[in-house]
């Protein structure tokens, strides 16, 4: 490629609309063929985030730990004595929820935030939301290192089920990607979208099991049961149960519906993105 050999390159059409129905697969292909670019964009994002900080990457752990301690304090004030693992459950909830909400915001703003690059070079635009979400997943994986001292302090067994931790984080990121790709083109037209999404991620904190757990919800009757249908219950509970040394224990209907919903969000999100992205960038 790129050599001016005797073989003349073939004429091909530029700017052909790809079929939006194939977008869920095409997005994966685009990421695969641009993986060097995705890797570099993720590195740029992660490096930029902890610049000029004496504690540097330690903040990936410190931030959720500080947040969790505040929520733990709040919970003790409100309801008295929680079980001894409660602080840990909040910490894991904060990490996974934080990853989801930052990923969602990054994906929603991925087109509006890269105007200069988009005007000067062409590559598949799905690279922007994917690398935005990817950077947050990398940071979250670093946050998850806090699990190692927890295993020691609480004398938890090291089991094969710990692999559910990265899987839970990836599942949350996957949902954020789909939802964010749905929103990114609309955000190009009206920035109200990003403010709305920011509100949703703040409000979603309370209806997701961050300060509460699936077990608590199941003791609260009909409202508690209804709360389990939130698709974020699965990834957060998956990570918590992994630390306890077991695979996720939720009703089958909840697990299946969460997986189906996540998958549908991705499918619809990539389709909307591929259909409207080219029109939307003209508004930038």
């Amino acid at each position: 490629m790129g050599q001016n050999g005797p073989t003349t390159p073939v004429l091909r059409q530029i700017g052909v609309k790809s079929n939006p129905l194939l977008a869920p697969i095409n997005t994966l292909k685009e990421v695969r063929s641009n993986r060097f670019l995705v890797r570099n964009l993720i590195r740029r994002d992660v490096r930029g985030r902890y610049r000029n900080a004496a504690l540097g990457y330690a903040w990936t752990v410190i931030e959720p730990a500080l947040l969790a301690s505040v929520y733990w304090f709040l919970f003790i004030m409100l309801s008295g004595n929680p079980d001894e693992m409660y602080a840990v459950w909040v910490l894991l909830g904060v990490i996974v929820w934080g990853s989801f909400s930052k990923s969602l915001n990054a994906a929603t703003n991925s087109l509006t935030g890269n105007v200069r690059t988009m005007h000067l070079v062409f590559f598949p635009r799905s690279i922007f939301p994917v690398s935005g979400v990817g950077a947050n997943i990398v940071v979250t994986m670093m946050s998850c290192l806090i699990i190692l001292p927890l295993l020691y302090i609480y004398e938890l067994p090291i089991t094969i089920h710990l692999v559910w931790i990265p899987i839970g984080v990836l599942l949350a990121g996957f949902m954020a990607l789909g939802f964010g790709m749905m929103m990114a083109p609309l955000n190009c037209v009206q920035r109200d979208v990003q403010h709305l999404i920011r509100f949703i991620t703040r409000a979603g904190f309370f209806v997701s099991p961050v300060m509460w757990t699936a077990e608590m919800a199941m003791e609260r009757g009909a409202w508690g049961e209804a709360a389990l249908w939130n698709p974020m219950v699965l990834p957060i509970t998956m990570v918590r149960h992994a630390l306890e040394g077991k695979s996720v224990e939720l009703p089958d209907s909840i697990v299946i519906s969460s997986l189906v919903v996540s998958f549908l969000i991705y499918v619809v999100g990539t389709m909307i993105f591929s259909k409207y992205e080219r029109g939307a960038v003209k508004y930038l």
Binding site: G2, P9, F122, V189
Partner: protein, 239 residues
């Protein structure tokens, strides 16, 4: 080499005029979309080996035309065809990260421009040498002067040999010494690439390197021919 390299057929490109949701809704009810036409019916055929210049006043659609060729804006009507890989040279150093070293930024910018990892790693030494950054290459980019960043940008961008090279006003960066070197480098790239399209206000350069110059006005091709004729048409336009 008389094969077609770039072919633009009846290209029409609109930009939306209504930039908020209320405007879009009101357009919807009026059944008439208010829009700005940036390119209207552009036909251009460029053969392999040709060097074509595009001139025109500010806002005449020159840069937009390059973006259509490179795929950034898909046309609303008409078709674009091109043979081989395309590289758009514009805004050198897009996407640079101030917190990473020159070396890391070279790889980052290279990947943004669409180069593969192997290609970049094999050309990295050459890039560093051309950028004349010396030991600064391992310092973070925030310590660089504007000229140093521009040099690094040009060094990376010029390391590839695309089939089609699109140049949008990137001459004249850095100190006079480097400016001369960068001009030579771009001229070398022009010779190396099989097809070149240049957008520039520097008519001297156009006359020197272009086989053909196209004059664009309000999104339409007004004149097309040898450099002298088109440049004359440009001045007639100004009156």
């Amino acid at each position: 080499m008389t094969e077609t390299s770039i072919s633009l057929q009846d290209i029409v490109l609109h930009f939306p005029k209504q930039r908020n949701i209320f405007g879009i809704i009101s357009d919807f009810f009026r059944k008439k979309i208010r829009r700005f036409t940036a390119l209207s019916g552009v036909n251009l055929h460029i053969k392999q080996g040709e060097v074509v210049g595009i001139i025109g006043r500010n806002g005449s659609g020159k840069s937009t035309l390059l973006r259509v060729i490179s795929g950034i804006y898909p046309p609303d009507e008409g078709m674009v065809h091109a043979a081989g890989d395309i590289s758009l040279l514009a805004g050198l150093g897009t996407g640079f990260s101030p917190h990473q070293t020159g070396r890391e930024n070279a790889l980052l910018y290279g990947s943004i421009l669409g180069h593969s990892e192997e290609e970049m790693l094999s050309k990295l030494d050459e890039i560093i040498e051309f950028s004349e950054l010396g030991s600064f290459i391992d310092e973070p980019l925030r310590t660089y002067s504007a000229g140093m960043k521009a040099r690094l940008g040009l060094a990376v961008a010029s390391a590839i040999k695309p089939n089609i090279l699109l140049i949008d006003e990137v001459l004249g960066v850095g100190d006079p010494n480097f400016r001369e070197k960068s001009k030579n480098k771009i001229l070398a790239m022009v010779k190396g690439a099989s097809t070149v399209v240049i957008v520039s206000h520097s008519f001297g350069l156009m006359t020197d390197v272009c086989d053909r110059v196209v004059l664009l006005d309000r999104g339409k091709i007004i004149a097309e021919g040898d450099p002298q004729t088109s440049i004359k048409a440009y001045y007639d336009l100004e009156e």
